[in-house]
């Protein structure tokens, strides 16, 4: 999905002189072409994330629409005040491109697990948060960001999933009955799709734009279901589970909302994301069990 997003930006730079691409020295064999082709609209600011955001803001002051790229945890956690003050307070059309989500960097340890970043970010007014679940949505993202014309964060999962093929912000794949709905995003969305393949009664709702959520679409998607299970690779309180609980307080639902998500940092080695999915109950087996199988 990272490739689709990068390719779309690179292609758009040819016709849009206001796009500026910045990296904090990340993206080997991926971002070099920006500097080679558009040296006047590319900067590698070094491993200096605060400066990455500040420089992006200054460029936005000049009318550029910067894309700032690095690993999600460094981009969001370290730069929270810069994002709040320098980007969002000024409503600058800066897009934060964060690579890696959840347990994508599984064996690298808890500093590299991205399990609490977008939830922190959604507390800041005025920023759109996306997490593409498929290459189709990833390829469509640039148009959506440009149309919104305001701060955006793209949480880019590792992987190149072809399903779902929809480019909608919310994609519902209806099951055979209206009892259980699985709600997910990013890589765990694939876990939910696999659970549905094994139990066709389950419905799945995949959300590609995590914040803000469209109330009308949510009412339509959630109302038919008696049980709603939010499956995510992010802490639930500030994650999608928290967002849906807040939504349910405003729009009472027929169903009860449950969570399958990590509840704390993990200090043990897991060589693949699936190790942590199992540990935190966001694997297919655990989901099917919660769904009554």
């Amino acid at each position: 999905m990272r490739g689709q997003i990068i390719d779309a930006i690179f292609a758009r730079m040819q016709t849009d002189p206001d796009i500026f691409f910045l990296t904090a020295d990340m993206g080997i064999n991926l971002v070099e072409k920006f500097g080679e082709t558009y040296p006047e609209r590319y900067a590698n600011v070094g491993i200096a994330e605060q400066n990455l955001i500040g420089i992006s803001s200054g460029l936005a002051n000049l009318g550029f629409r910067p894309f700032a790229y690095t690993i999600s945890n460094f981009l969001i956690h370290r730069c929270f005040e810069q994002i709040r003050n320098d980007i969002c307070m000024h409503n600058y059309p800066i897009t934060l491109l964060g690579t890696s989500t959840g347990f994508d960097n599984a064996p690298l340890g808890p500093t590299h697990h991205i399990v609490d970043e977008w939830g922190a970010l959604k507390s800041i007014p005025g920023i759109d948060i996306y997490c593409p679940s498929s290459v189709a949505y990833a390829a469509s993202l640039l148009d959506k960001i440009e149309q919104a014309g305001r701060p955006a964060y793209v949480r880019i999962p590792k992987g190149g999933h072809t399903e779902p093929s929809s480019v909608e912000d919310m994609v519902k794949i209806a099951g055979e009955n209206a009892d259980m709905l699985l709600v997910s995003y990013g890589n765990p969305a694939q876990v939910c799709l696999e659970a549905q393949r094994r139990d066709p009664r389950l419905s799945v709702l995949i959300i590609n734009r995590l914040h803000p959520l469209d109330d009308g679409s949510l009412i339509e998607a959630l109302t038919p279901h008696r049980q709603i299970l939010v499956v995510e690779d992010h802490f639930p309180l500030t994650g999608l589970y928290g967002s849906l609980c807040e939504f349910a307080a405003r729009h009472p639902l027929n169903g009860r909302i449950k969570s399958a998500a990590p509840k704390n940092y993990a200090f043990d080695v897991g060589t693949t994301p699936e190790y942590f999915y199992k540990k935190f109950g966001i694997d297919v087996h655990s989901i099917l069990k919660l769904a009554g199988n």
């Binding site: 500026f20 006047e40 609209r41 900067a43 600011v45 070094g46 200096a48 605060q50 400066n51 955001i53 500040g54 420089i55 992006s56 803001s57 200054g58 460029l59 936005a60 002051n61 000049l62 009318g63 550029f64 005040e81 810069q82 003050n85 320098d86 307070m89 000024h90």
Partner: protein, 287 residues
């Protein structure tokens, strides 16, 4: 002095110097009035930066700033708590209506206690330290990219602010990219937040710090507008980005506040205000 400034004015096309029209005493008087009316804090820093502000705005085309022209010079107030002095300077340069100064720090006004980009002429809202300089770097890079590499960008920092790590991220990049259009001014008033800067983190000599990062450094009397402008012009003529260490007195020209850390926080009483204004009258009479 005016003659010297006129000569500076002619040295380069975009050097629209007019600081001789702005009297630091007049700005000081405005700032004291604003702080007193609002019972606001930060008197010390607002008094130390006035000549720096006059020099910066005196070196750029203020008409472009007033019109928000895309190719205007950018002035970033990284030490955002110098808001009263910034607003007063903007007003005295004709960028902001002077009548607005009466609303400083009062309910419903946009003239907040840290500079606010809702106020005409303020490029960027700051308040948390170590932000403005990084935005200034982006402006300098952007002006170069847009084809205006000669257009100046100023960042005004505090000496205490230099303790923020983001400052040095900026300096590394400025030097590496040789952003000669960025000029950094340090308000070296020797007081950080609650005590003297040398007692917190002693970074003297500051020139060595910046030179180590590849910048040219200049040390001037920060209350001498002409000296600051000459340093600015020297950096403009040079081939690397530069910093101007402006040695200043926190609380300058307010005798009971000069070099006293408490005046970062304290608000001025009616009696103290009268005393400060009387002192300014005497100084002005002697000038």
């Amino acid at each position: 002095m005016i003659q010297q400034m006129e000569s500076l004015k002619t040295e380069s096309a975009d050097f629209v110097a007019m600081p001789h029209k702005i009297d630091p005493f007049v700005v000081r008087r405005s700032v004291l009035k604003m702080l007193h009316r609002a019972k606001a804090s930060h008197l010390g820093s607002n008094m130390s930066v006035i000549e720096m502000l006059i020099a910066m705005y005196g070196c750029v085309d203020c008409d472009k700033i007033r019109e928000l022209a895309p190719d205007r010079s950018r002035i970033l107030i990284s030490k955002g708590h110098c808001a009263a002095a910034t607003y007063a300077t903007l007003a005295h340069f004709g960028i902001l209506p002077r009548s607005l100064l009466d609303t400083y720090h009062l309910d419903g006004s946009l003239l907040t206690g840290h500079v606010n980009h809702s106020v005409h002429g303020v490029e960027h809202s700051t308040g948390g330290l170590g932000h403005g300089i990084n935005v200034a770097v982006g402006c300098a890079l952007g002006l170069r990219s847009r084809g205006y590499p000669e257009r100046l960008v100023f960042a005004m920092l505090g000496d205490g602010e230099l303790q923020e790590g983001s400052i040095w991220e900026a300096m590394m990049f400025v030097s590496h990219m040789n952003l000669c259009n960025l000029i950094t001014l340090v308000d070296n008033n020797a007081i950080s937040s609650i005590t003297y800067t040398e007692k917190v983190i002693d970074m003297r000599p500051l020139t060595a710090r910046f030179e180590g990062f590849g910048l040219s450094s200049h040390v001037v009397d920060g209350h001498d507008v002409n000296a600051i402008m000459q340093a600015i012009n020297s950096i403009k003529q040079g081939d690397k980005p530069g910093v101007i260490i402006c040695n200043t007195v926190k609380g300058r020209d307010v005798p009971f506040a000069e070099s006293q850390p408490i005046w970062h926080y304290k608000s001025i009483t009616d009696e103290e205000y009268s005393e400060a204004i009387s002192h300014l009258d005497r100084l002005e009479g002697m000038a």
